[in-house]
């Protein structure tokens, strides 16, 4: 940590040429990675990250720098160098720093530092044993991993505020490769949480998680190639939310909205989605993967309703991009680590429950695709164009699941598909992912109930859907 006296000196040095805001972001993090491959511990590694990022704002300009020289002189040198970007007179002097207090919804339980490698290995191996017990000759490679983090962050800013935040989080994952004369397929399951290791025993069953990965890989190995064309697409709950995350979530971040670079720019208060759609970004869900008590500039995490019954009502906003929008930040300012300048990002983003049951949605679909698992995707926020690769998908025929298909890609425009959602299920679930954008890779939950898009372009190698 940095002493308050040092922080005040550094902030005042940074403010000396007229910046209207300055902020010190100190981070001291530890990470441990363990991987078990084909039953044996393959890698075990520890990393520590310790540095300071310094951000200066003047109207719509940002100056950012970071260093690992954490002495007072190192920090003063950085503040001096960055302050040279502005040529004005001092506007602000910091004289004292008082703490910001927020509700702790993500308490640290048993520290990961106290969990022995033996205990971690035993946890991973439970899932590996489960896969081995399936005795499937087509399973040629299994990888299990456990990644754990402890992250201490302290922020000091020119509003005379400071706070300290300690978070611990972990992720347990299984990746399975299957191969036979049909080719090769992989599948992955990786639940994560912002709580201690007991989560992976009490809330997640390593055996079930590993088995799910193996079963998906085996099923996709024998699946037919997905047909292509335009068709109704049912998106499964949980991971299916990645489609909303990419195609609508990113364009609703202030970094795109404030500059008029989003396909939703200038549409606040307008109907951008079917009236069946309400969507939230909620950083207050206790111990959830994407939750934060306080964001990287000191605003408390909030629950933001983004879309209410189809109408666009709010955004993910950080203070800096909020300046162009005449809006205050709403607790969405995040970054991967001190090497990234923070910006508006998502936390736990989901489409809320509707009234249909998943069975009803399938039953009322004559011919289409049911996309359950995704490898990920990407979007151009300015045009809304998105693409997704499906890791698990089925053909629906006459209201029933007909057969699994592999290699499906979904493409479209975010602003168009929102309007084409014609059924929303009642089985909301969240799923854990890593989201990469300008301020690095951060933890986010995606989520939704099962829902149907009346028409979407599907790419695949299986010819026309008949």
């Amino acid at each position: 940590m940095i002493s308050k006296q040092t922080a005040i000196s550094v902030l005042n040095e940074a403010l000396s040429t007229g910046a209207d805001y300055a902020e010190i972001f100190y981070e001291d993090s530890q990470q441990h990675n363990l991987s078990v491959e084909n039953g044996k511990v393959e890698t075990s590694s520890s990393s520590s990250l310790c540095g300071v990022g310094l951000r200066l704002l003047l109207e719509n300009q940002t100056v950012y720098g970071y260093t690992n020289r954490l002495t007072k002189k190192g920090l003063m040198d950085l503040a001096y160098a960055l302050s040279r970007s502005f040529k004005g007179e001092r506007k602000i002097t910091v004289t004292a720093l008082s703490p910001i207090r927020v509700k702790n919804r993500n308490p640290v339980g048993r520290p990961y530092a106290d969990v022995s490698l033996e205990e971690r290995i035993a946890l991973i191996k439970e899932g590996i044993d489960e896969i081995d017990s399936m005795k499937e000759p087509a399973i040629v490679r299994t990888i299990g991993f456990l990644t754990t983090h402890r992250r201490l962050v302290a922020v000091y800013n020119s509003k005379g505020k400071w706070f300290r935040r300690v978070t611990e989080f972990g992720r347990l994952g299984y990746s399975v490769v299957c191969a036979d004369e049909n080719g090769m397929e992989t599948a992955f399951e990786g639940p994560g949480c912002q709580s201690d290791i007991s989560y992976f025993r009490e809330k997640v069953d390593p055996r079930r998680t590993a088995r799910k990965a193996a079963e998906t890989a085996l099923m996709m190995l024998h699946a037919d190639e997905c047909p292509s064309g335009k068709m109704p697409v049912i998106i499964g709950n949980g991971w299916g939310g990645v489609l909303f995350h990419e195609s609508c979530g990113h364009p609703l971040e202030a970094s795109a909205i404030a500059r008029g670079l989003s396909c939703f720019s200038g549409q606040e208060g307008e109907m951008i989605a079917s009236p069946l759609v309400s969507a939230y970004d909620d950083s207050t869900i206790p111990s959830a993967w994407g939750s934060i008590d306080i964001d990287d500039e000191g605003n408390p995490g909030t629950k933001r309703c983004l879309i209410k019954n189809g109408k666009l009502v709010n955004f993910m906003i950080d203070d800096f991009n909020g300046r162009r929008m005449n809006r205050e930040g709403n607790g969405a300012c995040r970054r991967q680590n001190y090497r990234y300048c923070p910006t508006s990002r998502m936390s736990n983003t989901y489409i809320a429950n509707g009234k249909s049951t998943p069975e009803e949605i399938i039953r009322s679909t004559k011919l289409g695709l049911y996309a359950v698992g995704f490898n990920g995707g990407s979007v151009d926020p300015a045009t809304g164009e998105f693409n997704f690769g499906c890791s698990e998908a089925y053909i629906i025929r006459d209201g029933k699941i007909e057969k699994p298909v592999k290699g499906a890609t979904l493409i479209g425009h975010g602003n168009e598909i929102l309007k084409k959602i014609d059924m929303v299920g009642n089985d909301l679930a969240l799923a854990q992912g890593m989201c990469g954008a300008a301020s690095g890779s951060i933890r986010t939950n995606v989520g939704q109930p099962t829902l149907r898009i009346s028409e979407l372009t599907v790419g695949g190698r299986g010819g026309e859907l008949k």
């Binding site: 540095g51 950012y64 045009t383 290699g407 890609t409 790419g459």
Partner: protein, 440 residues
Amino acid sequence: MKYDGFFKKAKAAGIEEAELYVSTADTLSFSLFHGEVDKYSMNESMSVIARGLVEGKFGAAACDVYNGEKEDYLVREIVRNARAIENDDPQFIFEGSPKYRKVNTFNNSLKDVPIDLKMEKLFELEKKIREADERIVDVAQVAYEEKASTTTLLNSKGLKLSQKNNYYVYYGVAVARSGEQTKTGFDLWLDNDFSTLDVDDLAEKTAKRAVSMLNGEPCESKVYPAVLDPEVVAELISVYVSSADAEEVQKKSSFFIGKLGQKVAARCVTVEDRPLDRTLFAKSFDDEGVATYNKPIIQNGVLKTYLYNLTTAAKDGVESTGNASRGVASVGVSPSYLVMRPGKLSREELFRKIGNGVYITELSGLHAGMNPQTGNFSLQSTGFLIKDGKIDRPLDMITVSGTLGKIFEDITYVGSDKKTFPMGISCPSVIVRKLTVAGK
């Protein structure tokens, strides 16, 4: 010496052999939005990756500050992690190659170019993109970045190797609109010699990439003969060659299993790894300290070698190919600079060769729509329809699908129009006999 403390403490803690991989970097970057500097950034950073052998097993640890306290941390974590390892693969700390070729990847004059001039060129870029075409409605961003880095490898066998690199890059994102349709275009200029910079060229290309895609529509879904732009070829090659990773082959996760010495592409395809060419991507030693060398990976369509580090090479009873690539937890492999050998025909001649077909200029979402283990892909794409040997109209909302192995076998001609990409690949356009396109 600065790092002696680590090696002394490692020995005292019972670590038999140890290694440090240290990188330092200074970066400067700034970007403009609507004629104003909106972000300016200056950073200095360090990364130390350490590993050590304890009873034949590697433990690994990393940090980003180096001092006495961190020396203790690295040694403690190496020992703890090494004791957990169960894998029996042979492990090495390398004593050094007999000879290392010199490469020059650092341009001293870059830091002497005044920041004001670097900034001025960026303002010029933004203005020129905006003025390039009346359909350019916005410039989403223009940015400059420069980085100078040093990589040093030290180990307890007395090996000490070091290499300096620097580069600068200018890039821009243009936004074009026509009616209801918006398209963005991105391009960049990468070098370490500032005198080569051609702002006009970059502005024109960036604008053109956005404008040329306006008014696109899907084409009919069917199998087309296709010209693939060098950018598309580069992306496909990078995935294709990643399957030559010996570890993936040994672990049965590669479609190149059993393919050594066999045909994996058309005869006109030759792809080499050329770390010793005079490029920004040159390197004289890999991340384990093995001397690099130029070599074909695919020659006249035949797979000539897998890519090895010391461990995977020992398992196959061969020499390392000097492709080790260091991560914190483990050492993988990567090519340094991939070159696909160009052919004789210009791109226009390639269009004429196919007569009617498609010209694919961009693939999106490779991380999601490409299965790197099987090479099966289905990807969102953009491009143009080719009619009577000429570019006809842009294509929007299409996907292309296939299998990498089949695509490389179906290459009938290789163009003369080679282009180099920041991921360290140089390649030309190609003709693929059959490409499945889904549109209307």
